[in-house]
């Protein structure tokens, strides 16, 4: 911690390029995020938000570019370094991706034991604490198939938190949820942000993320076309692309308007 200053970004991406199916899905994307910050990725479908998030932890290896964790470049060619890097970067998926054959408790515990090498007893204790944090300790023995979507996503968050990540990547964490289940997940995410967790989140929940985000990043066709604080981009009469986009999706989702209200 001490070898770099307070200002060193926790995670930094330089010049990420990714070509998929002949398209530049990511076109020289630069991004950095400081400790405790929350950045929100928005943009139309196909803009490259998921690809960017998955490039950030090499689930989709970028064709070129650099990723730095706390100022040190990650060498993804080394399996050991890659695994240790991924432990420090939590990821939340749109469709949860809980391990279907494991109970909620086992889902949270498995990587603690296999990756961290913790004893079963210690791992269980930690897993219970994380399930408590997301309000699901009473569902510890349930299998994913017997959990609601909101509960599944909260278990997934507990599973990621158990690894003590330095930054969390969230890819539309509420998009697969029924409307009445979105709130419980947003509550957990808000608590995380307030607790100082560093997060990069793709979402269509505009007013929720406007109340949380330090920065909005608007992507289109693989590029970051606008970025700035929610107030800068969504304030009355700003006329930004971001604002136009937010107004459009707010219309669709029934949010009152795309303007920022604190």
């Amino acid at each position: 911690m001490s070898q770099h200053s307070e200002n060193t970004p926790i995670l930094e991406a330089r010049n990420l390029i990714k070509v998929l199916g002949g398209n530049r899905v990511l076109d020289s994307v630069n991004l950095d995020i400081g400790r405790g910050r929350v950045k929100v990725l928005i943009g139309p479908s196909g803009a490259g938000k998921s690809t960017l998030l998955q490039c950030l932890n090499f689930l989709t290896p970028p064709d070129s570019g650099h990723i730095l964790l706390e100022g040190r470049e990650v060498n993804a060619g080394s399996k050991k370094e890659l695994c240790s890097f991924r432990q420090q970067v939590g990821m939340i998926f749109q469709d949860f991706n809980l391990f279907d054959h494991l109970s909620a408790l086992e889902n949270v515990r498995v990587a603690l034991m296999k990756v961290r090498g913790m004893s079963k007893l210690d791992a269980t204790e930690r897993a219970v604490a994380e399930l408590k944090r997301v309000g699901l300790v009473d569902r510890a023995a349930h299998y994913p198939a017997n959990l609601s979507g909101g509960q599944k996503q909260r278990v997934a968050i507990a599973r990621a938190l158990a690894m003590d990540p330095k930054v969390m990547l969230l890819d539309e964490p509420t998009s697969a949820l029924d409307p009445e289940l979105i709130g419980e997940v947003l509550t957990v995410i808000r608590a995380l942000a307030q607790g100082g967790m560093t997060m990069i989140m793709a979402t269509h929940q505009i007013s929720f993320s406007a109340s949380l985000a330090d920065e909005f990043i608007f992507m289109e066709k693989g590029r970051i076309v606008e970025h700035g604080s929610p107030a800068e981009l969504l304030g009355k009469g700003v006329g930004s692309r971001t604002q136009a986009f937010c107004a459009k999706i707010s219309e669709l989702t029934g949010e009152a308007d795309g303007e920022f209200r604190s």
Binding site: R86, D100, N146, R159
Partner: protein
């Protein structure tokens, strides 16, 4: 045909024929386990291995699927194993026994079929399972062992039980190289009693019971390891 005579003959032959069950069971258990031990890594290599390895596995599968069991029994028993058991250091360890040859042939053939069962099951899992494991910092080996295989093997049990019943029937060919399993005993006793039809019935009934017991046992296992609320189609 005198049914009384036939029935008496069948009744008297039963203990002798049942003695063959031990050999049949040995063949099946040995071959299923050999097939499992080889089939799982073959499937993993065929899904996750580099291209050259995938091609080698595919060739192996084609070979064992393409050559009839009977031909393989002759090649292994009279050729390969006879030759191997003559090499210095390999004599006297039973490599030249018909039982060993039959277990190898049935096991290797089964490994080819089982590898395709497991491969299909692995490929049917959602890609997100692998991604989630990797995102937690697991190595691919760890993800395969702790996430992919436990799910894929569960999904494979019905097809595995099908493989068992096929293998059981294939094992009846082992008599051709001299394994005294059910079929071998049936032929021996049929030629002394001159009651081939009733002896065939006895053998058929024994094979049927063995099939039923095995398939039933595997379906009990399937229920035992079933994940709550999870079916082959997904969540219920």
């Amino acid at each position: 045909m005198d049914f009384n005579v036939a029935f008496t003959a069948a009744h008297e032959a039963l203990p002798y024929m049942l003695g063959g069950v031990v050999w049949t069971a040995g063949l099946i258990v040995g071959a299923m386990l050999l097939g499992l031990a080889l089939g799982v890594p073959l499937a993993v290599l065929q899904v996750y291995g580099p291209r050259s390895v995938r091609r080698m596995v595919a060739t192996y599968v084609w070979l064992f699927r393409g050559i009839p069991i009977l031909v393989q029994l002759y090649i292994f028993y009279f050729g390969l194993l006879a030759w191997l058991s003559g090499l210095p250091g390999l004599t006297g360890i039973g490599l030249d026994s018909p039982f060993v040859a039959a277990v190898m042939v049935l096991g290797l053939t089964s490994s080819a079929y089982q590898s395709q069962i497991f491969r299909g099951a692995i490929q049917s899992l959602p890609a997100g399972q692998l991604k989630a494991g990797r995102a937690l910092g697991m190595t691919d080996g760890q993800v395969i062992r702790t996430v992919v295989l436990p799910q894929a093997l569960r999904l494979s049990i019905p097809a595995w039980s099908n493989e068992y019943s096929i293998l059981l029937k294939d094992s009846a060919l082992a008599f051709t190289i001299g394994v005294v399993e059910i079929m071998g005993r049936m032929r021996a006793i049929a030629s002394t009693t001159h009651e081939p039809v009733s002896m065939s019935f006895v053998a058929g009934i024994i094979f049927f019971v063995l099939t039923w017991v095995g398939v039933k046992g595997l379906s009990i296992l399937e229920n035992k390891v079933r994940i709550a609320g999870y079916t082959r189609q997904g969540a219920v």
